[in-house]
Point group: C2
Chain length 206, copies 2
């Protein structure tokens, strides 16, 4: 569909930044439109007019490509991966223990800046897809007790974690902004755990 | 300082929209710089070069002027006021019960749009002031047990409530966006109540 016009331009090394940019552009478009789950490396490669192997060569896995597309400096799976080893009844503490030091770090500054510019724009579908697709699948499946509750459980957790990002890094409420990581972890962990494995009203009797 | 130049323009009724605009502009500047608590109607009137009585006449109370300044269609005290009658041990349920129907309503659409444009801009100090000054004073003083914990308790509550706004109205996560109000209230109420009156780790032993 798209031709590799950039490869023919004189004076440019073949298939470098233009190709990368075209892959990223195509990835953004498809991730935003169809979500992470329903977008394949193959479809992104087709849209960009390149071989899927080239996409893998440049960007690695699909989640690494997603991270590159929304300009966050880490692969989401480097967070989600380790969580798979954590017993479900400890996830409420593990989540903020992993995320807060990351957000507080230099890497985190880029993440917060990206989040902010996404919120400022009109298109939040990439963040939505990340939370709805990736987190719901990776974590939601483990807390789906009773069946059907997992997705909702994870979204309540997401609401609390997104709220912490807002309060600490974007609204910069004091003293919240300056609280030690351990104090926030200790305070929110039982609440997150309740969302994950506690009895939730609408799922207890029905 | 500022002269009432607009009053002298021919064909305009005296002291109308220009004066109002000047008061609002001055209010925004002072609220953003000094917060709600440290800004007086008198100082806003002085900045706008009008009599404080005129500010009251146009805008009513200070919180009503604040609401007009950030373009939300209701006086924050119409929410905060009724909460004063609610026993502290029921606030965790009362807060989302009051706020969610408001946010879901037509009025709420304006509020969400305002919040979104504030987040998009670089200056979130008005929202910060609202949460830090007004809510911390009005609600925080009632849950300051042990002494010194009230402000932090309220900011954890704020983080959860802001996160609900993000998940439901801005990120529009499904199914979160479509959950009945009662389900969200029932699910978050115990967590909010714990933040307000539960034993928080850092305030239990010290």
């Amino acid at each position: 569909m798209t031709t590799n016009a950039d490869r023919k331009r004189p004076g440019r090394p073949p298939g470098t930044s233009d190709t990368r940019d075209r892959i990223l552009e195509c990835a953004r478009e498809l991730f935003a439109r169809n979500g992470i789950t329903n977008t394949s490396i193959r479809s992104i490669a087709a849209g960009a007019g390149v071989d899927p192997a080239l996409v893998h060569h440049y960007f690695g896995t699909k989640t690494q490509l997603f991270a590159a597309a929304i300009e966050i400096p880490i692969d989401p799976m480097s967070i989600i991966g380790p969580l798979k080893e954590v017993p479900v009844d400890q996830l409420g503490r593990a989540l903020p223990s992993l995320l807060l030091p990351l957000w507080d770090s230099e890497l985190g500054k880029g993440f917060i800046a990206t989040l902010r510019s996404i919120l400022a724009g009109s298109d939040v579908s990439m963040v939505r897809s990340f939370l709805q697709d990736l987190i719901a699948t990776e974590v939601g499946g483990r807390v789906d007790d009773p069946p059907g509750s997992g997705r909702v459980r994870v979204q309540f957790v997401a609401s609390q974690l997104v709220g912490i990002v807002m309060a600490r890094y974007i609204l910069e409420l004091e003293p919240f902004k300056s609280l030690p990581v351990e104090q926030i972890v200790d305070t929110v962990a039982p609440n997150l755990q309740r969302y994950l494995t506690g009895e939730l009203p609408q799922f207890s009797g029905d």
